[in-house]
Amino acid sequence: MEALERMEHYRSLFRESYGAGALPAWFARLRESAIESFTQLGFPAPGSEDWKYTNVDPIAAVPFAHANGEGAALTGEIFASAFVDVACPRLAFVNGAYSERLSSLNGLPAGVRVASLRAALGSNDAALETYLGRAARYREQPFVALNSALMEDGAVVLVPEGCRLPAPVYLVFVSTAEAKPVQSQPRNLLVLGAGSEAKIVESYIGLGTGNYFTNAVTELFAAENAVIDHYRVQREGDRGFHVGALEAHLSNRCSFTAHAITLGGLLVRNDLRVVLDGEGCECVLNGLYLADGDRHVDNHTDIEHARPRTTSFELYKGILSGSARGVFNGKIIVHKDAQKTDARQTNKNLLLSDHAVANSKPQLEIYADDVKCSHGSTIGQLDGDALFYLRSRGLAPDDARSLLSYAFASDVVNRVKIPALRERLDDYLLSRFRRK
């Protein structure tokens, strides 16, 4: 499709989605504003700084359509592949649409609201108007603009002040390829009250071998002293496209950990931005990306230290084989008043083949003068000494390589704080590396 055609295609999708009069006025205005932005911005141009190594033409060129609900026949068996603990509360979505049948809301404490976006809009939850769209940068970021224009459904999690969620909440997004390539625009809103504690897992899984496009945006707002453990586990299909954005805004003394585990998808771009907008915040970003074949995975992170005495610790590790390409761009901005910031960033890439490529770029902008910032990045192969050691004990070369690759990846998975999730991911790593 040519550029003009592409914009018209999405404008018509915009007009088709949602019935007239079904939307609260503020929500309709937000979507209107977003489609205008998207039309002006267009898809990111190749060579633009933020998209330097990631060409989105494969996504832009396909006239993705609304899903028809062909995935309605899915059963609970998908949850195992999606790393979901079925004993925990969950919201499930199929091709972007909420599925009550596959969801389960047992065991939530009183006062906690876990609902689909449609339901929350329908009952006019006050939090929505207050928070939705406040963090997402739809005026500058094309895919966020697209999501904000076409958003219809997604997960809303509102945790009141002082509330501690006893179990993790799973938000599962299943995509199934249909006859025509389909797109979904999940929009999630997570609001954590002061002193609350929550573990939230977003899990994206694709079934089937066709093309489809998931464009997900999550906004997270945390009030003072909240403790959040957030996960995004992505296992899209072999020919699925996934673009995801997470915007997190933290207040005083929040503790925020964001795990980003990318296991699938043909073309993937993750944007994660955390604004430490309160004193004493801590933020930990824990990322793993595995790509083989022709896959392309691009992780852009952006940590903004806006107030004094905040810390961030970032570890992203990638394993690239075949002709895959992994891109890491880690931005850290330390604002003028953010004295006593302590920020550490590490990106490690393991190349398992001659044709795999990794690009790694730290981007530090430091405007305060009493700070500690460090960054480090490595791109390399398996350690020859370690390989020899294992072989000298009897392991076949392939098994030694698998073991070392597994060990490299499990460094990140071992930091997962939900035991059931950690075990499932560990099992996944063991089987993925065993099949060479």
């Binding site: 072989r391 004990r393 009897g394 392991l395 070369p397 098994d399 070392l404 499990s410």
Partner: protein, 252 residues
């Protein structure tokens, strides 16, 4: 068990081993001593199958087979074990996990059934007593954060589990204090058997007070210049290695 004939080895442009002859019979413990740079580690690594070492002459027979034609893992499965001088750290891989994989690879080769997790756990609990190691350490990533002594004990533990027929100990005593030395030597001695041979490579005579060898060979400048019984160690202790440089010494 092990027959080395006129072995010549180059590393890059330099010839390090200049014609080594050595015969190790079953159940025998041979010590190889020598100053730094004499080729001790080169010999150990060539026997284990490390790349970067170019064999330019001679042969090595293990149990009658051409050892140099075997890959490192084939040698291990055939019962050759090298206790490294500088054991590598492998983050993310616990000793138990990797040792179970290694043992099962060896057992499979020998036509034995593989051990399951429980069976292996029982086995390793038994073996760690030999090196007085805490179970906690072996569940941690391999050698990560281990002291020198703990690394060396871990090597001997692996030897105990893998049950080799030929063990090559490359400066197992380097970096050890007296207590660690005693434990490591104790472990090695407990593994001496009529059907197991050992080549103990060391710089200092001290280790040989604990692991008493049947034969001692002195490696100097890439050649074995002197061989003898265990008393040779004491002679070296008092005279040092310089003594060997004189032609007279080589002849005596």
């Amino acid at each position: 068990m092990l027959e080395i004939k006129n072995l010549r080895v180059k590393v890059g442009e330099r010839e390090i081993l200049r014609g080594i002859d050595l015969n190790v019979g079953a159940g025998e413990v041979h010590a190889i001593m020598g100053p730094n740079g004499s080729g001790k580690s080169t010999l150990a690594h060539v026997l284990a199958g490390r790349e970067n070492y170019q064999v330019t002459g001679g042969e090595v027979r293990y149990d009658g087979k051409d050892l140099l034609a075997m890959s490192p893992e084939e040698r291990a499965r055939a019962g050759v074990f090298l206790a490294f001088q500088y054991p590598v750290e492998i983050p993310g891989v616990s000793t138990t996990y990797f040792l179970k994989a290694a043992l099962n690879a060896v057992r499979k080769h020998r036509g034995l059934e593989e051990l399951d997790a429980m069976e292996f756990l029982t086995l390793i609990k038994e073996k760690i007593k030999l090196v007085e190691m805490d179970q906690v350490l072996i569940n941690r990533p391999l050698n990560e954060g281990f002291s020198g002594g703990e690394k060396k004990r871990n090597e001997i533990l692996q030897m105990a589990v893998l049950d080799p027929r030929l063990a090559i100990l490359d400066e197992t005593d380097s970096g050890l204090d007296i207590d660690a030395l005693r434990i490591v030597a104790g472990g090695v001695n407990a593994l001496r058997r009529a059907d197991r041979s050992m080549v103990v490579i060391t710089h200092y005579q001290r280790l040989l007070n604990y692991i008493v060898p049947d034969f001692i060979h002195v490696l100097f400048d890439g050649r074995i210049v002197k061989s003898g019984a265990k008393e040779l160690a004491l002679e070296l202790e008092s005279k040092g290695y310089d003594w060997l440089k004189s032609p007279a010494a080589a002849l005596s």
